[in-house]
Symmetry: C2
Subunit: 192 residues, 2 copies
DNA sequence: TTGTTTTGGGAATGATTGTTCCCAAAAGAT
DNA sequence: ATCTTTTGGGAACAATCATTCCCAAAACAA
């Protein structure tokens, strides 16, 4: 038996970068062949077709970015500080990227969720995932008495998710760290 | 001389709807020929090529949507109410659309602004335009003493623009009027 | 009528799309 | 050595892509 020569994870990572940068329709199979450095035969045998490869790449992104965000949950002494850290982290990620690719999940939502049921469901789940992170921190803060119980924690979680999506959208054409910092400071006022 | 038979504005409107629904790369010239009901010769003579037609359609959208928003400036008795009306209007527009096309400018930002300088500039200008609407209302409110001068009006304007973009993004996969209402109510708290 | 201009039909372009297939080379296992 | 499996090269596919072109029909002005 011949051992596998190409690293599947490495190839998937490269595919993700390409789809992330140029979108689904903007990325051709030729782009992928060149980018991954694989032959047609190998690529099709490994990933079936373009659409399957895309879904796998998007799933890979979701797994990674979700776990990264959850690392931030334990940062900050108070719930309010943690919410701020979460938003700052989300902003930092898109600002740091020299290519301004934005958020791959948001990009896919805009480009495909209307006509691709699978992508649509992944987007909804991804949003719910982030919303739940905020919700978890907020309810904990309410129990501790750090955050008023006057406002519904679920509504606040949706609000912060919305702020995050705004930042991620703007990151495509106007990634400005200082502006995002101001936006986050104002968003945090919703906790007063 | 033979009089022009096809209505240019009507055709442009149809082209805008198509690009809006399926994106630039997702819309083929054949889609446009079928959708506009024009012959190849006529379409190319009138609009030069696909990219030019797209830019014209996006410009048409920008003109229309900008003027619609500015109609709301005079609604509401206080600045705070006007800001709320502005956000509610932006949410209402995307929620009403049965097709969930979202915001054409935001869609184009995500799909093209990275690789298309003209689109990028249009997006930046469009964002600035909306930001300025908020800024105008906010500074007026500050002069009237309705809004605290502790916060920078420019920062607040960027914050509300960000909230609007979040709503417009989410409208693609999750247009929920009630959720948007909650989000807007919390965003308004930034004015306290 | 003649002339001018607009439109549509349709053929033709060359490039690119995603995908399938065959076969030889490579690399390890036996 | 043979066997098995993985990989790459490259041809081939039909479909679609954006675009150009020619010409006849249509509609108005003179």
């Amino acid at each position: 038996m011949r051992t596998k020569e190409f690293n599947e994870d490495e190839a998937l990572e490269k595919a993700m970068q390409l789809f992330w940068l140029k979108g689904y329709n903007g990325t051709s199979m030729q782009d992928l062949l060149d980018g991954l450095g694989l032959s047609r035969s190998t690529l099709y045998r490994a990933y079936i077709d373009k659409h399957s490869l895309f879904l796998k790449a998007l799933g890979h992104y979701q797994q990674f970015s979700s776990s990264e965000i959850k690392k931030v949950i334990n940062e900050g002494d108070t719930a309010k500080e943690t919410v701020k850290k979460l938003l700052e982290f989300i902003a930092e990620v898109v600002v740091q990227d020299q290519q301004h690719k934005g958020c791959f999940m948001l990009n896919s939502e805009i480009e495909l969720s209307l006509h691709d049921k699978v992508v649509h469901d992944m987007v909804v789940n991804s949003d719910q995932d982030i919303e739940d992170v905020f919700y978890h921190v907020l309810t904990k803060g309410q129990k501790r008495g750090e955050i008023s119980k006057a406002e519904d924690a679920r509504a606040m979680a949706k609000f912060f998710l919305n702020t995050a999506k705004g930042i991620r959208a703007t990151a495509k054409s106007n990634p400005d760290k200082k502006v995002f910092k101001d936006i986050i400071a104002l968003a945090i006022k919703a906790l007063n």
